[in-house]
Amino acid sequence: MKTPLVRISNLKIDFKMEDGRYFEALKRISFDIPHHTVLALVGESGSGKSVTSTALMGLLPESNTVIDQDSCIEFNGRSVLAMSKKELRRLRGGDIAMIFQDPMSSLNPVFTIGDQIIETLQEHKSMSKKAARQKAIDLLTEVGLPNPESRIHAYPHELSGGQQQRVMIAIAIACEPKLLIADEPTTALDVTIQKQILELITKMQKKHGMSVLFVTHDLGVVAEFADEVVVMRHGEICESGVIEEVFRHPKHPYTKALLNCRPSLTYRPERLAVIDDFLQGEAYQLPANRSRGYQEGNPVILEVNNLCKYFKIKTGLFRYIDLKAVDGVSFQLQRGKTLGIVGESGSGKSTVGHTIMRLLESTSGEALFEGKDILSMSNEDFKPLKRRVQIIFQNPYASLNPRFTVGQILIEPMLLHHIGKDKQEREKLARSLLDKVGLAANAFNKYPHEFSGGQRQRIAIARCLTLQPDILICDESVSALDVSVQAQVLNLLQDLQDEFQMSYLFISHDLSVVKHISDQIMVMQQGKVVEMGDADSVYANPQHDYTQKLIASIPQNPQWFEANLAL
């Protein structure tokens, strides 16, 4: 049998923590990467997938890493762990190349992209400057950068995110590596761009006969183009094998859970499946389908007419141009229903939410809340209404004050709006809300940094609930969470809506999540609404070109993947 390109066996890595204890990052994992194969390494945060790829590059920090004696990483039959620093340097960039999640921070901002490609070529291939320059242009042509002849003189900030990632790929394949490690290369990109980049990576893999180690948290992304998959959790491998086999007949409950907790475009269960449903070992019963949509005669709680928000961009000493972030947006929000706003970055979807919340001042337009325009009223008049419109932000790590305990976070809004008679009553309410969002009672005296992302988002939700709002604006509220946690939070939001009849303005770039939770959907592009309608009909019959393009860009799960959902 031919030796695989990479053989990892018995890999055990511990990190020494600040307090002297050890954290077991990898618990004796073994897998191979064959030649000419795309292997997807899938796992949620903390699963050890990034540690694995970093170890393979020999890039783990020496000071606090303990690699077990029996561990073995072989690249083409040579042990990576035993290599000297010089050999490792030759390995990286030569035989192994890597592309990262954020292309902007991996490109050097003070050099042109041409210089950066040429430098790599000269370093590893000892080419002449002229030959390297020609090769750089060829590479940029190959990765599909328009006008490579002139773009070779561009600086990274002059390119869009997708183009930067293309440049990163050009640098990575410059030395014709045998293995390309792609660490979440599309996570920071819009769906339409994500699709292009994935196609490019596949094309390059085929053309250059490389192997690709594709590290990702998103099972949906890999279904389409990976050959093999390794599913990791807590430093262990749950399941591995040929992708079709794993997806068609997942054996490990965690794999089953991962496949099911992601909202699907074709089916909308009452509740999303969560990992617990599978780990408990009982056969999982798929819940009934929930029907959605606005109903005639339902009271309208918020009516937005012709909302505009322009940002002034300074172009000269006294010259400004208007950047039309939101341009004439109108919609209605029914009580107890959800309006989903989708769009790519820069479409103005978040600005809509922030303007209605008056975190940004609107340029023109009105937002009628129970008949009163909340955009034109004074701050004093708006204050009592503020408690009835609340917002949950994208990043739960940033939206909670790190110096406040959870108790203080929850009690502060009550103090500001004079809810509750005294301290005891407020505390009691705060504790009952913690219970409602599924946090333990002892969370009350803890600080935000002691919680995981999903738990923090629950705290943020509880903070909004203290004010018992009628409208909740969810600004990318589940985008920063792992899929399994995302499912839990989506379920929580749904439960709360059912219980309190709240209306949601659900803003997200993730079409399947929006489809799952929304009754009506509004598609935005460059500040304008391009399409609006009932969630199901928009997905089934997208009218506008842009909507069609968006839906087509969602990683299309092969038939066997969708079939598996009715497990």
Partner: protein, 357 residues
């Protein structure tokens, strides 16, 4: 490597964890593991105690008394006893005076009555001679004052001037910086103009011109230091407030209806307090040094007080004559504190902001 495990069993995990840890208690834990930092902290605390003791009159109280012969050497540096002949007068036997006395005894003394009266008066007073010490532990200065006492008194003056000055600079800088950074726009422009004017003058020139105009004394020094040093704090705080006001947690505070003052001082200030602590420590060290320079140039605490700078100002004249002990004492006192403070600053920074190191 992310520490958070998005477990489904999160809840149980959290419950088994140790009790709540605020960021400051975590920082304290980190500081406690830093040996250099802890030793520095102990030294700084010792100086603070000394400083407090100086003000309460428990130490360094008699720094002005002439307790020893001028320039008495320190005990440890006394190789041969000096000045033993100073106070003793022995009358030579059989000298001319003796003869004169005999003669006068024979003749009647016209002043005898007066002398007797004077003797009687004198006997009503009690006279006591204090003998000046010939050596002291750390020697004496040109006026016979105890160098150790002076150094202790000097410590309490210098350290408190520096601490108070740093504190005032922090308060002024933080308030102005918070206002400029948080409100931005024209408020920021006005304050930035003000800041630019202040920083356009060289520091030492500013110090000297304030010192020349205002009267001498501790409060003047504090004022001068505060007025010249707030700019550093201002610049830092302005930048921090600009950064933090865009953070989501401030938007969230806005969304629940928190007012401006609340957002500025209840929300943002605790999040930048670690920077203030480090800055306070850096400023204190700088001010200790500035005080020395000012006093050395004659713009210091004045002659009614003493400080490290005032003591060092006496040093050149003494050194010419070979009296080195005052210089050594002050230098050791000062350099130990300055070194400890600087090391503590580094450790504090590491402890408070582990990302940097």
């Amino acid at each position: 490597m992310s520490q958070d495990n998005n477990l489904t069993l999160d809840q149980e995990k959290v419950e088994t964890q140790v009790p709540a840890q605020s960021l400051s208690s975590l920082a304290w834990k980190r500081l406690k593991r830093d040996k250099v930092g802890m030793i520095s902290l102990l030294i700084v605390c010792f100086y603070l105690l000394l400083c407090a003791a100086g003000w309460m009159g428990l130490a360094g109280e008699n720094w002005r008394a002439d307790v020893a012969v001028p320039n008495a050497p320190p005990t440890f540096a006394t190789w041969e006893p000096r000045g033993t002949q100073v106070n003793t007068v022995t009358a030579p036997s059989g000298s001319a005076d003796q003869v004169d006395d005999d003669n006068s005894a024979a003749a009647p003394d016209p002043l005898a009555a007066l002398m007797a009266q004077a003797d009687k008066h004198e006997s009503q007073y009690e006279s006591k001679t204090t003998k000046l010490k010939e050596t002291l532990i750390l020697g004496a200065d040109g006026q016979g004052r105890d160098v150790l006492q002076k150094a202790i008194k000097g410590t309490s003056v210098s350290v408190s001037v520096a601490l108070l000055g740093a504190f005032c600079a922090i308060v002024i800088g933080t308030i102005l910086g918070a206002i400029a950074g948080y409100f931005g726009k024209w408020v920021d422009d006005v304050l930035m103009w003000f800041y630019s004017i202040f920083t356009s003058v060289p520091d030492m020139l500013l110090l000297l011109s304030f010192a020349a105009v205002l009267s001498r004394g501790i409060s003047t020094l504090v004022l001068i230091f505060a007025l010249t040093s707030w700019t550093y704090v201002f610049r830092l705080m302005r930048a921090e407030f600009m950064k933090h006001k865009e953070r989501d947690y401030i938007k969230a505070a806005d969304a629940i209806g928190a007012g401006q003052t609340r957002k500025m001082f209840r929300h943002i200030l605790p999040n930048v307090s670690h920077i203030l602590l480090v800055q306070f420590s850096i400023l204190t060290v700088g001010m200790i040094k500035s005080e020395v320079v000012l006093s050395f140039l004659g713009f210091g605490v004045g002659i009614k007080q003493t400080s490290w700078g005032a003591m060092l100002a006496e040093v050149p004249a003494e050194l010419i004559q070979g009296y080195w002990w005052q210089m050594l004492t002050v230098t050791v006192f000062m350099s130990v504190l300055v070194t400890a403070f600087s090391l503590l600053t580094d450790s504090l920074r590491d402890a408070l902001d582990p990302k940097v190191s």
